[in-house]
Symmetry: C2
Amino acid sequence: MGVGRITIEDVAAAAGVSRQTVTRAMNGMPEISARTRELVLRTAAELGYRPSRFASNLAARRKSRSVGLVLGSLRNPYYTELAAELLDVVAPRGWHVLMASREQGDDVELVAALSGQADAIVGYFTGDETALVTAARGVPLIQVERAATVPGLHAVVLDFDAAIEALLGELRDRGARRFGLIESGGPPGEEGAGAYRPTRRRRAYERFADSDSAGRVVVADESIRGGADGLARLRAAHPGVDTVLVFNDLMAMGAMQQAQLDGVAVPGDLRVVGVDGLSLGAVMTPPLSTLSIDRRAVATEAADIVGTLLDRAEPPPHPPVVRTVTPRPLWRESA
Amino acid sequence: MGVGRITIEDVAAAAGVSRQTVTRAMNGMPEISARTRELVLRTAAELGYRPSRFASNLAARRKSRSVGLVLGSLRNPYYTELAAELLDVVAPRGWHVLMASREQGDDVELVAALSGQADAIVGYFTGDETALVTAARGVPLIQVERAATVPGLHAVVLDFDAAIEALLGELRDRGARRFGLIESGGPPGEEGAGAYRPTRRRRAYERFADSDSAGRVVVADESIRGGADGLARLRAAHPGVDTVLVFNDLMAMGAMQQAQLDGVAVPGDLRVVGVDGLSLGAVMTPPLSTLSIDRRAVATEAADIVGTLLDRAEPPPHPPVVRTVTPRPLWRESA
DNA sequence: CTTCGTCCCGTGAACGTTCACGGAGACGCT
DNA sequence: AGCGTCTCCGTGAACGTTCACGGGACGAAG
């Protein structure tokens, strides 16, 4: 002894009692006198004893569940509000939530790291689906936004086709004619790091906009400053645009700020519409219109899939579980 | 068998191999033929086998560390940006982060729940310190903002005394004379739930403001709408105020919005200053001035304390470890 | 035919707790 | 004295995995 970890046995020996007595003292159980409890607690503190949570959970046969959450960024309120909703949904059931952000690593790496600590992982993934599943080592994966195509992967898909079609229609009703899109080039800071891949939002836009508008797309960094930069480039390349759709609200806020700097009146000269539905958009001047994603619904569906998967006794759920949430326009004064 | 959990032994039996072979297959280890690996993986999938992460971590003697993070709210970007910083700091070391929000439970309950899953817990606590420490069951607690007074509790304190004294001074230099404060009444939704206790920010304000100003305080909900409401009440009660200090940036944004609604020019008629230093404050019109808290520094110090505490061999750190971070004014156009 | 090496695979023994027992002593009552 | 009832405490045996070994089968080399 001396080397290695301080175990319950060390404490027991030092206090002159048995393992079980130490357990009773540490966990506040009955069948122990106040005297010895005090003694044990003190010697435990003196030795710097910290119980092994792994041994403890194993022996106690606890069903403590924790779900990993892989987000695009913790600096974008959309993601963190989603996290908030998920926490609201699972905390009452006693589940824990492990956080990870794609800002600090590859999809697959994150999943691999989380797989040892979580019973299920939900998140925004962009990596190869097969690689993700193998990295998960058997823990169920629930993908948000993207559809799942391989076994072992389930999904809460966001129906941007329906949403953007509806949005463009309503915008036309409001007089919009010449659209433009500020598209995401990936997480902030990854400027040109990975290969750019068109997002589902862009695809939907190109599909449902008129052919002229479909060509008016600029790719920008997924941040406030990226949105500002995007708007400047979009207006430079396509001066006639009267309505700009932005990949997300954060970028849209940057775009609105830029418009203001350039002396462009919103919505008089230019309509701006974001995606996400951040409550902070309401305090902008003018308040930001947006394609709102029901984060509570996403969280609920995801948690539900996790529950189904984990409680299932023996048979594996072969056809991937898929739920759908459709974003809806939320009109405020910027459009 | 049949009842209870599916163990590695079940898979081994079903595949006609031994435990160790199953381990090798599941973890992608060598010393196994492609044939049997395939077989084992398939039967594992068919049985719906998911390894016990507790048993696994215990047997592998892994030093996987995870720190719990207790925040006031996940809907306030200040907290989530702090989380982002912490993640940035600890992720490279391979540590995990467990999230919890005071919106869904008492301090002490959260700590108790987390103590089984985390090796250390850092957070914004408001509850009784002794109760917190006992709930932690030996896992180290690091408290942010508040100073620690009991053994087992450590702290990263925010020096609002120094910060607010400096802030008020600089505001006076800019012509501010009649101050007012919008103070927090606790987390959103807890309207009148717990007993209101003056925050350290309020205490500092009352100490360093002139005696007239010290009396101009309203308590409001810790949210955008709370800030708006607070400003309305403050102006109604004290019409002559020319400068308002707000508990945090989120509330300050609400206050600015309310000022705009009421036709009060900022900063012409009224200066508004928040606390936190949110980057989103920069996109407000006018951009929000604020007492900026260096979240990176807070996260770094907290992680450092955790590291020190966990790597220490035997002796317990008796004098609580304390680090200090001082907020600094960040001037933008609202003041 | 022996010897050595390589490739697979299996068997005890950990890992550090908690659970289900069982038992010693103190005390009160008949 | 005998018996029952508390209160407090200790001893094997789990929990489900991985680690350190050891060993058989097979082919190549001597």
